[in-house]
Symmetry: C2
Subunit: 192 residues, 2 copies
């Protein structure tokens, strides 16, 4: 309801109606509107964490084709299909409320941290020569990769997807990781 | 009001109060709540377009230090300061409404197109050797640059800025542009 109709579309009576429970049930469990929206945020975070755990398992299995940048790209592309698209819209609705509600921000931060960790792991394992990468470089690559992913997901939510396949997105993610390394080396070269 | 308090914080009486005009003025000019929010969107778009025009002028003047990727990075960093930060929050509030209101989407699309054009110009002029770049490559570089920028602006709005200086962001933007080209060449090499 939050993803489809926005914050305005959520009320205790509507939740009762949608869930097919007796009138008054939602307000019995969640007294205030704030409590109802916090419960929705907790549920979004719970679903996200379950998905990320499943993705992390798949990433361990090369046959599952969820490893590396290609795996990350496939995960992001899911957000352009249901039920993930509506969930992403709900997450943005909640994120805007969270700017005025620190408790809500904390609840949502858990899923954000999981996505960051996922991106960071992919970046850290990307270095093809097996060399131990510079931590500051990995940090920069992870920041850029995560910003790219969030920017792409925003185009899905807006109904104007900037990429149409996991392969396309994979090339962009690889480009970001490779390019941030190139620019950093060039900078280091100038300093030396 | 929209950026600070969200859609819930906007009402005809509050607008009258904030603007210091007689009660009923806002509802005289904007009959419905929808009309009031559409007017807010039109104003956001107007301010954005004025800013982008000014930036484009500055980009013509090398002394203004608003050229190329460094200029783009400086523009984006402004969004982490007022009044641009609150305006960005208002834009996200409106963008979520726009998913259920095509007319609103059209109004907001104008500023989005301006930002895309700005990113695309920077990318097209970036090719250092002066060669005519492959249009498909420029398109990919622009998509990735824009997604990066939008992802970074999202971290500003969320109060957790992923970059703290224009120099840092400039390196990430350069990395994205350079890297997307590298990965594309590598792909072309494999095909040939």
């Amino acid at each position: 309801m939050l993803g489809t109709n926005g914050v305005h579309g959520v009320s205790h009576p509507r939740v009762d109606d949608r869930a097919g429970v007796p009138p008054g049930t939602a307000s019995f469990y969640f007294r205030t509107r704030k409590a109802l929206l916090h419960a929705a945020a907790a549920r979004v975070a719970e679903l996200d964490v379950a998905d990320f755990s499943r993705m992390a398992e798949l990433a361990e299995d090369p046959a599952a084709q969820f490893t590396g940048t290609a795996g990350l790209a496939r995960i992001v592309m899911y957000v352009n299909s249901e039920p993930w698209l509506t969930r992403a819209k709900a997450r943005y609705e909640l994120a805007l409320l969270a700017g005025r509600d620190p408790e809500l921000a904390t609840t949502l931060d858990e899923s954000a941290q999981r996505l960051y960790t996922l991106a960071r792991d992919v970046v850290a394992h990307w270095h093809p020569d097996g060399s131990a990468p510079d931590p500051a470089l990995v940090e920069d690559q992870a920041i850029a990769t995560l910003a790219l992913i969030n920017g792409i997901m925003l185009t899905f939510v807006a109904g104007q997807p900037a990429v149409d396949s996991a392969d396309h997105l994979d090339r962009l993610i690889q480009g970001v990781i490779a390019g941030v390394a190139v620019v950093r080396e060039r900078g280091a070269g100038c300093e030396g």
